[in-house]
Symmetry: C2
Subunit: 757 residues, 2 copies
């Protein structure tokens, strides 16, 4: 720290941040420490160059670079060389992962008329990247089953469990049929999973123009939205069970690892699945008859949507090359000057479905510029005090394979050393959107308080707060009006934070800007440099804002005297989630009562047009009163323990170095107390008991997933059991906070004292 302060004193006056910023306190820093940190961040900001982002995107997104592609391998080496040149100890860490690519993709409408879909996206003259047809993966869903099916089609809306209930009420069974389903409302992998559970033998997923096409705005190349041929590729791996290589669950897919037989891998889809464009879907949907689809099922194609089954009949044949493929993670380490065994990990994936300018390169290039600037600072003699690890993941697209294998492979070391994992992925223009561990909420709000929004000049936090005031729900409006912290959303899945937080219990953040960069290029050949620089973040202003935001996170976490975790934010959030599931339980009970009452009264039969031949829904099981008391008590204790800890910490006049070290060590491992080795019911890979992706939502989060999903599934005993488990975890967490508070008490002299080193 001596060196650090000394060097700060040398910073010329011109480079000082404005007084207002400099005066802002930063959690975990003493006043002098905060002032120095502000100066450091000002220098960091001044090192950032938008031109670098532009150059690197042009290079990295120039050719298709999916996992296993030659260009993907070259990109890994290109980045590794750069990290090395910036002073990082850099490795390319290779895993051998299962990555199926298509051998046969056949789809025809065979009745009542014949139609052969094009199943390709045409290259566009305006967009050179779209012309590299020889290297592009065609539209497909990775981890579809091999198979052949010929059957009548049924239109199943978004393919959610509730959609099948609606079909059932109309006497429509998808057993032995091929379903045609819209992208949206759930993660794509849920769609074939639920279809197969209902007996479907094939699944066609298409992008309806209501959600992703001309109804949203002008289509590419005139505008950013999906044109009639655009197709969303993507994985249908059952990630809510476990992500990563399907053959090596919970351990690294090294060259020599034991592997499951493919047939035994539970996360591979059970039926063949193929994504298509709305051009290709139109004749199939048009050929359907049967009941007219319910009003809220209709899309924006110029037809009357029918449910089927048939007379539209399709033939679907898919076969894949199920090869092991090398995935190349780039791991670049800048050792900490003071606490080298405490790691701040920062990651973004580098593989794409095709050229992937937005997804993932827009985030990747911001990460690179951030790493370059931090490397520069280190070269100037301002190294991070903790170790910084920059990661470029491969094989994220097929199912978080690169990050998951690395995290599994280094589990023990990570649990010991990792402080926080900070993730980004594609980045856009507009408003900060951040999710993560709620013990980092206050910390993150201090960061975005200090980063200017490029379009308006106010802080990133103030702009996000303005949006919340204008368009938020009642709770958000209230928070915004009271100038409270912006809430972090809870993490579900869909990017590389998952193995870190949900498997290992490492506190995590996931960041990005967006809201003003809508488009339809996602996972298509049109996600290109051309598209990105016209429609997403022209000039890379928000790429720089992301580098500033994530970079400040890294630098503050790396240099904090005391780690900035705040458990009062966490305890308030848990109290809120507890309230939510108690409300859920009450609502389920009231709904079941009302539902069954309506059935008994014959209301469905009386209130429904007899010509629709709509069966009444099934009765619902009665919902018992659930014992939430253990959780309620645990929440009360958590709030109290968190308050007591922070009171002690605030009051601590000075901390002996040894105590501080021990405190930091314990703080960084608090999140692990929220995990259990046994994991969640039915999916032991997911160990975190506060945040998990929903078993039937996919990317969408379920907070307090143990009790919440048990309640939603009507498993009442399971719900009570999970409540008890969760309460016990929170009690342990509170005990640890109490111990930390006790350990601080000798140092806590005054009531309002300030933390000193």
């Amino acid at each position: 720290m001596k060196t650090f302060l000394l060097l700060c004193a040398l910073v010329p006056v011109l480079l000082l941040p404005p007084a207002s910023l400099e005066a802002q306190p930063i959690s975990g820093f003493s006043p002098e420490g905060a002032a120095a940190q502000h100066q450091l961040e000002a220098r960091f900001d001044q090192l950032l160059r938008a031109q670098n982002l532009d150059d690197w995107m042009k290079h990295l997104a120039a050719r298709p670079h999916h996992v296993g592609s030659e260009y993907g391998r070259q990109n890994a080496r290109f980045m590794a060389r750069l990290f090395e040149s910036w002073g990082y100890e850099t490795q390319i860490v290779r895993y051998e992962v299962l990555f199926p690519t298509p051998r046969i993709r056949e789809l025809q409408l065979v009745a009542p008329t014949r139609f052969t879909p094009v199943l390709q996206e045409p290259p566009l003259e305006e967009d050179p990247a779209s012309q590299l047809t020889g290297e592009q993966l065609p539209p497909y869903n990775a981890f579809s089953a091999d198979g052949e099916a010929e059957a009548e089609l049924v239109y199943v809306n978004y393919g959610l469990p509730d959609d099948y209930e609606q079909l059932q009420r109309r006497g429509i069974d998808v057993k032995g049929k091929i379903v045609i389903v819209k992208y949206g409302r759930s993660w794509r992998g849920i769609k074939p999973k639920v279809a197969a559970e209902h007996g479907a033998i094939g699944c066609i997923i298409y992008s309806d123009p209501a959600d992703d096409g001309y109804a949203r705005g002008e289509v590419y190349p005139k505008g950013p939205f999906k044109n009639e041929y655009g197709v969303q590729r993507g994985s249908v791996l059952d990630m809510p069970l476990y992500p990563g290589d399907p053959l090596t669950p919970a351990y690294g897919a090294t060259a020599t690892a034991d592997r499951l037989e493919r047939e035994a891998a539970p996360t591979i889809a059970k039926i063949p699945v193929l994504p298509i464009s709305y051009h290709d879907a139109l004749p199939m949907l048009q050929a359907l008859q049967g009941p007219v689809a319910p009003a809220d099922w209709r899309g924006a194609l110029p037809i009357t949507y029918h449910l089927g089954p048939g007379p539209a009949k399709a033939h679907l044949k898919l076969a894949f090359d199920w090869k092991l493929t090398p995935a190349y993670n780039v791991i670049a380490t800048l050792p900490g000057s003071t606490w080298p065994d405490q790691w701040i990990i920062r990651g973004n994936h580098h593989d794409a479905w095709v050229n992937g300018a937005a997804d993932p390169i827009s985030g990747m290039v911001a990460l690179m510029e951030e790493a370059r600037a931090i490397g520069e600072l280190a070269k100037m003699g301002l190294p991070p005090r903790r170790t910084v690890v920059y990661c470029a993941w491969d094989a994220e697209e097929p199912g978080l394979l690169g990050s998951t294998e690395w995290a599994e492979d280094h589990a023990a070391e990570l649990k010991e050393k990792a402080v926080v994992y900070i993730n980004t992925d594609g980045n856009g223009r507009g408003f900060i959107r951040a999710g993560g561990s709620h013990s980092l909420q206050r910390f993150f709000n201090e960061v975005i308080r200090d980063v200017p929004d490029p379009q308006t000049g106010v802080s990133v936090a103030e702009r996000a707060r303005a949006r919340m005031m204008l368009t938020g729900n009642a709770q958000e409006r209230k928070l915004a009006a009271e100038e409270k912290d912006l809430p972090l959303y809870a993490l579900g899945s869909g990017s590389d934070y998952t193995p870190f937080i949900q498997h290992l219990g490492i506190a995590a953040l996931n960041l990005g800007f967006g809201g003003e960069n809508a488009g339809g290029e996602y996972h298509s050949i049109y996600d290109s440099y051309h598209h990105f620089t016209r429609f997403k973040d022209p000039g890379f202003q928000y790429g720089i804002a992301l580098a500033q935001t994530a970079g400040s996170c890294v630098l503050r976490l790396a240099n904090a005297e005391i780690l900035p975790h705040n458990f009062q934010d966490f305890s308030q959030t848990i109290a809120q989630y507890t309230q939510e599931i108690e409300t859920l339980s009450r609502q389920l009970r009231e709904e079941a009562e009302r539902h069954n009452h309506l059935l008994e009264k014959g209301v469905y039969a009386l209130a429904t047009d007899p010509k629709l031949k709509l069966q009444p829904p099934k009765p619902k099981e009665e919902v018992p009163y659930i014992n939430f008391a253990p959780l309620d008590n645990a929440v009360v204790r958590l709030r109290r323990s968190a308050a007591a800890f922070h009171q002690q910490l605030d009051a601590a006049q000075s901390l002996p170095e040894e105590l501080r070290l021990r405190l930091n060590q314990q703080l960084q491992q608090m999140e692990q107390l929220l995990t259990r080795e046994e994991g969640l019911p039915g999916r032991p890979w997911y160990k975190h008991h506060i945040y998990a992706p929903g078993f039937y939502t996919g990317y969408g989060v379920k907070t307090l997933p143990g009790p919440r999903e048990a309640l939603e599934a009507g498993h009442w005993q399971q719900a009570e059991k999970q409540i008890a488990i969760l309460a016990e975890l929170l009690e342990t967490y509170s005990s640890q906070l109490d111990q930390l508070a006790t350990s601080l008490s000798p140092a806590a002299g005054g009531r309002q004292g300030t933390l000193k080193k």
Copy 2:
């Protein structure tokens, strides 16, 4: 009454209604009277024949029969002859009304490409009615201005005042432009009115397939919905100002009446207006550029909707033949056996835009069958005790001309003699929907308690209640769960009840079945016998149900010993409306505060994508606290007076005949106490102060229109003035109830006594 009871005793046992029905009390009848009435209604029901409805519809809807058409005149004579044959004293009452028909209808897209809309609906082989092209009125909007305009197009969504605010925020002015606007969300006449207020020089109204076309279901002739060529004709007369002949406001359009100059008639549209199909709208919308329309403005055409202005440019030329046209009302009277000077009036219009099988013939034929059966009963010696007047109105379509002129022409007599006006119009399949004076709510609920639903066998009331339980809002669900009366909706406008209730203060009901007969035939050449009998009410089951419902209303009102008005229902409804406008006032205040606070904080600028160039909205005027006390006090008194009156009435052991006569005379005129000669602000024709069509919604009702519309328009002083006026009316109404109660007190012996003659 002697004859009546005597004859009832002769009814054979076989014809008796089920005991359960017979046992039901009926308001206004003694127990014996109620039993006799149930028997009468059972005989009435048995006389009804669906085949008659079918035959008459086939005849009346065989050819186009708009006002002024030869077939319309023949229909009037056909019906008059039938009424006569059923024993009614029948007149054809003629008025000379302004009815413009098109001479020139020209529309072209002249830039950026040329396109000439077809402006015609093709005849269909399946539907003979559609082939009578020589007699059809082409698609047009009656009471459009004559005129020629060539200008850029602007897409204005539904053309509501709020839509123009959205345009203004995007810097788009319709001044000097032609607007293209969707049907729906407001009555069509509001669209050119608001467009003209904003400076537009022409208006094109089209039916978007999202609201009225393939997005709703299969199109005609495959299904009932609007095909790409279907066009909704209709009037754009400014009916919220006054309906009826524009040249003779508030007096009858007799041959010799003084007439305004056409130029001075304030209800004729200010700009040329033309309705078109979605086939014709598509190229125009497709040619628009400028900002992409907001998400909730988009329809179901397969395009990206833009706002313009231009480059799409249209040429519109319209000229009309502004001739006076004879309108033939058929007025058929069956004199009351006991109280001939008390009239129960029952009406439905007979003119259509083209063949009009659904609108209006489906209601007309039910009315005719009802009249026939009542005539039969009279012939059997069971005449109504009060006079029954059956009316078939002409010229409803251009703006309630036939009914309005008759009501204006006979205003004094009607105010003296009319008890209730019962209206129907087009009828469909499904659920009863009824609006009207809330003093008739209890009465109406007793009627529908006793009419069986043809599809389910339960009562019409029970089916409607089931629907309310399943799909109603919270308040409706609560009412339904508690088995409370079905609320009557409040009457706005759009059919022939308007002159009776809103101009003359005659208590009214408007009835119809619907909810299971959706289609797109409205005001098109496809509203035919073919369409109706396939899709609307096959077998005329609900035509019979309507005849039963309206017929029971007529018979009960005609025979009731005491008129069945219930003022407790009325007072509760007024209390609810008062609550609503007080809530409105609070919400307006809170919204203005929040809105101005957001503006002051710069939230709109910060939370909006700068690339959209969206101006912040204008600040709102501060909303003062309004003095609702006079109204609140009047409502308290009204509730008390109503309760006291009904307590006295219930307690009355017997009423001397003279007192009963006087009571009935006063009851039938209660509704007139809710009118004021001065009428509503700015529209003196509308005299009722509880119900009125909204000045900016058209058909949509505004209850307590004086204060409500003043609040909505931000006229705070006017609101207070209107509150005082309304309070005074209600005080007068309560005084009258108090007087009635006092007049009953000598007769009110016991606490729980039953009404006796």
